[in-house]
Homo-oligomer: 678 residues x 2
């Protein structure tokens, strides 16, 4: 639909009355995905994507609305274009896989305005066999300096009728929503990754890569199946993004696959990020940890000091002992520092990150832990008083470094849009979004300061993962979705399909500190966790993180030693990952090969429906025999009632030629350790 | 779903763990509509609405997100409540009806925070028999002064499954979109009025009243059928709305009716506005006008000077003669002033509103017109260089006043979000939204300055109508939807259902300067207007405005003198209005009684489908006889091709007891003048 503006343009300028014109092309290395850039009759830049010759993304417009300048939208022409190809393999210092192939064709197209200030920008497309990414790049130029971006009008017009799996964006509970599975034309506004399956069986997922010094992109549906970027609001500043040229935006990414596993196995997001700038990061150890944590969510103990304070010297020593006995490297302790007493979430300003409460002898405990090969894990919950936290950051990280605390979990508990920023001491306090431009910079600043001190960072209530762990491999994990804690007190607790939904959405972005392994399957006040024993074990394989928590209380594990063995055994760093089977939101089976070992691990999960999955073991190394230690739902297991505890453990010898019949309960799962036999 | 914040609150404060609690009630005078205010377990304020005991609006939350303070969302309690009832009748100086009954029950509930700054606000509900309105009111108070409102989290949770008629909000073509008719759960983001019909036959429409010094409310669907307010962005300022307490928000309105006509006949919006502050406004004459206008949209003439300049002395004289000959009071002239040459839409800064082009002798023409009882209509197209326009406003209005130009059409042609604001001469230029807080104030400033000079204002590309014509009866009409000009060059032109959609959406807000009556039924380059002759006449009755244009070229009217007679006869000011029949987006028949006369007028329109409507004439005064002058689609008429011109005119004598069988073509209509016989 032409605007009045354009049409009046037409009345004045017959020169502009030409039709759409394709001006540049790029394809994937295997030729199946093609990207075309075009200019429409108004000189608006657009792109479209086909696969195997059939449209996937229809004519989708590109551009920007500015607060301090004319919109960058119309009257462009192509000035030049270049193309190149890249095929390299790089190794992840830790991750879902070691060797990662980065193989793409790149197109850089430069567009310039025909009138006005002749402003120009590049669009850069990188087309892979499993999808594409594109970004805008603004060169330094006389008529475009400071850009106050009100909105980025990048569209994604999904041609084929599709079903979408998505969580709402811009809502007060940040990323912590259950997922909606609806026809795409019922999506309103969504976070990314947002995943779709078209009616003719194509899988798509939209996300972004390398979100640096920019606002997060939400997806807003305009009409039909046409989506458009919406940038997280500015908060303090009067525009979503303020940058000076030259700069480039994050990559907007579209993963494309014929099977759901193609989305899961893709390294597109990491490949679009810049390589590691930290050099040797062997000081970060992928590992497991326990924590003074679940008891508070059960409301048995408190973060606050007093008779129920969990973070005491004695209690923490118990956890250190438990960790050491079971080969867990870390002990997270929440409530270790002043500020938790009283109304902490309204007074993040009361937190002190540089000293412990009187009943927590942090010096003695870190020595005690070190002697047992265990490390305390730091906790920096700032209650969204972020400027206050940043004013103590150096001192806090110095303390951690001195005490051998080489991982820190940060926290930003408050509603979306309520982060408190104070640029001048005692000055006005303004509000920011967890995923706005300011917070994108704060997170990176914390990661960089931590890296100087060889500390790894795991933010909760974070900004979404966009693959920056490649560039900063001390950014090891994060929350950013509804996690295990909702099983303690959530209303409802996480339903059976939730963790499967995560695999196909949240987990496409990067690791999640889901904190699995609550074998007691019970939350606060006896609330049932809608899961099974075997399902809790499966999570260690299906929900990837280089740090995994054994989240339950030690006394609960004592009651499930048979199942607990899997948690003791499962590693958190992988040579390779395969999705063996799976369907979005229904079920999934993932297999991963351990690094530095010949062992494989498998996790399988089902939604509310019980099912039997045929699981070919062809991922195992050919010609080897394995002892398969199978942890599975027992007969009659189910996600309700006492049936949740029906559990069976058995051992078999298998090879790559075998096919297992895995019965999963509704809300259940299976976990298998394949020990390579000599 | 509880937030982590709330739940941690629960862990700390068992005092807060109480369930939802109804705290206040209000009903409509007839008792059928009930409104309940409640507080949920988190102390969040909510409201719900029932009708005849069945839920209409489910538990819907209320509150605000601030940039410069904690969110106003939770931890409230009811401090006090008062109720009162009002039943008055007031007269509209001009309008769809004369006598207007304002009958409601009002509830004022004061909520105060239990902690923090004990900030407080009132919610005021006015419940009518045909709907309700509510607003927030902030008293002056120590801990709430300057409020920088990032968003208003007012919800509308539509309980019953519904179909919605809506146009997208926040998109670049402002209000000028075709309407979508979709299940409500496919709405993404919409302007108001937004109209719904529930599956069980209830009609609802959401809008706002008295939009003063505040940003426009869009409706964003969060999930399912739950809508939430989204305020138009701040533009220059870093929040949508910046106000100091004490102040009140606009009214959020929900019309409720058993028949579609109930929405159309409602005076809810006007009743919620403040009474007339201008006193006697008899200087404004509801009237008809012609214009130097359509020829430019046909691209036969130009706004710019040169050989095709339409706004010349000679050409305007022709239009004055034509107006005088046909009893039309006004002649709009576009292109009368400097600034149209060259790239005007990028250079609204070139417009001069204080003098005419050399070939337009405005002094002579206004004298010429006056001698014939005709008035020139002013035209202030500012191409969105609004600060520039405002710098000339006084001089421009003074000129108009001196020349007897007592109506002015203003224009703001540019994409949404591109209005240019410059607070300091030669200072930085920033951008604003057509419906943001700044423009809400600019529009009112123009209206007030015009009122001082007894000039009436008709803005195009305006802010939406929210009934302020009650308070400022010189704010006579506006555009704010896709109008007749799209039939000149729109792609597509307005389809047959569009004008019917307008009746049930746009027209619930107030008058529209649709500029009907293009009897040539042809746009630029021979493009067919998807309409019929009789349909063009029906528009004068169905699309209300106190000023109606006879939009076509005089030479075209000369070819349709039989139909043109209706345009000559039809008044533009009414004693009463009834919707005789109608269904949203399908067909509609409206009858209106002329002021100061016993005559009635009727207009009827159909969508793409031909239909025969039974039209009871019971609206006519009992006991009177009328000569019905019927202008209707001829046999075989249709909205395509030559059939568009099939037209018939006949006369009958009727009384209130008669029922007419009106056959309407697809895309057609009928117009009837009922002349009361002695």
């Amino acid at each position: 639909m032409k605007s009045k503006l354009f049409t009046l343009l037409l009345l004045f300028s017959p020169l502009l009355a030409h039709a759409d014109e394709d001006v540049a092309h790029a394809s994937s290395p295997d030729g199946r995905i093609t990207v075309t850039l075009d200019l429409n009759g108004e000189g608006r830049v657009g792109y479209k994507v086909s696969r195997d010759g059939k449209p996937v993304i229809g004519d989708s417009r590109m551009g920007f609305l500015l607060r301090n300048g004319e919109e960058l939208l119309r009257n462009f022409k192509l000035e030049s274009q270049t193309a190149r190809s890249v095929d390299e393999t790089w190794d992840q210092p830790w991750g879902e896989r070691l060797h990662t192939r980065n193989h793409y064709n790149e197109l850089v197209a430069t567009f310039v305005e025909t009138g006005r200030g002749k402003r120009k920008f590049d669009v850069v497309f990188r087309v892979f066999d499993d999808g594409l990414g594109f970004r805008y790049s603004f060169p330094k130029q006389p008529n475009l300096g400071r850009m106050e971006i009100v909105d980025e009008v990048t569209e994604f017009d999904i041609v084929r009728t599709a079903t979408a799996l998505w969580e709402p964006a811009g809502e007060w509970n940040r990323y912590e929503y259950l997922y909606n599975k609806t026809p795409l034309n019922q999506l309103s506004q969504a976070h990314t990754p947002m995943t779709m399956k078209t009616d003719d069986g194509l899988y798509l997922s939209i996300h972004e890569a390398a979100l640096v010094d920019y606002a997060s992109m939400w997806l807003r549906r305009v009409d039909g199946q046409r989506l458009k970027a919406r940038l997280a609001p500015g908060g303090t500043q009067p525009a979503s993004v303020i940058r000076e040229t030259p700069f480039a935006t994050p990559w907007r990414t579209i993963e494309i696959a014929d099977r759901a596993g193609g989305l899961v196995e893709s390294s597109l997001i990491l490949n679009l990020n810049d390589p590691n700038v930290l050099g040797d990061v062997s000081w970060f150890k992928p590992s497991k940890y326990v924590g003074v944590w679940w008891s508070m969510h059960l409301d048995q103990q408190s973060w606050a000091t007093g008779p129920k304070h969990a973070a005491t010297t004695d209690n923490t020593r118990r956890y250190i002992d438990f960790a050491a006995a079971n080969g867990f490297r870390g002990v997270l302790v929440e409530g270790w520092n002043p500020g938790w007493d009283g109304d902490w979430f309204a007074n993040g300003w009361n937190f002190d990150f540089t000293k412990a409460t009187p009943d927590f002898d942090i010096e003695a405990l870190s020595k005690y832990a070190a002697a047992k090969g265990v490390h305390l894990i730091g906790h920096h919950e700032n209650g969204c008083a972020v400027s206050h936290y940043m004013s103590q950051l150096d001192a806090a990280l110095d303390l951690d470094q001195r005490l051998g605390i080489d991982q820190v979990k940060t926290g930003h508990v408050c509603d979306a849009g309520q982060i408190e920023r104070q640029d001048v001491a005692n000055g006005p306090v303004t509000r920011e979004w967890h995923d706005g431009q300011w917070m994108s910079n704060v997170h990176l600043q914390v990661v960089k300061e931590a890296a100087k001190r060889h500390i790894a960072i795991n933010p909760h209530e974070p900004i979404k993962d966009t693959g920056l762990r490649r560039t900063y491999p001390n950014w090891i994990s994060r929350e950013g979705a509804r996690g295990m804690e909702y099983n303690a007190w959530g209303s409802p607790p996480n339903p059976p399909e939730h963790e499967i939904n995560l695999v196909f959405t949240r987990m496409l972005a990067g690791p999640m500190d889901y904190t699995p392994g609550v074998l007691s399957l019970t939350g606060r006040g006896g609330q049932e966790i809608q899961s099974t024993i075997a399902r809790q074990l499966a999570l260690y394989v299906t929900i990837y993180s280089p740090i995994q928590m054994a989240a339950d209380l030690p006394e609960h594990y004592a009651q499930h030693m048979d199942a607990f063995q899997f948690i003791r055994d499962v590693p958190t760093d992988w040579q390779d990952t395969r999705m063996v089977n799976g369907e979005i939101g229904e079920y999934v089976t993932i297999a991963r090969k351990a690094r530095g070992s010949d062992d494989w691990y498998l996790g399988s999960m089902s939604d509310r429906n019980a099912r039997t999955l045929k699981v070919p073991l062809s991922f195992l190394d050919a010609g080897k025999k394995y002892r398969a230690e199978i942890y599975r739902d027992g007969a009659g297991a189910d996600w309700h009632g006492a049936a949740r505890f029906k559990f069976a453990k058995e051992t078999r010898t298998v090879t790559a030629k075998d096919v297992l019949d895995l019965w999963l309960a509704g809300g259940g799962g299976a976990a298998i350790r394949f020990v390579a036999l000599k």
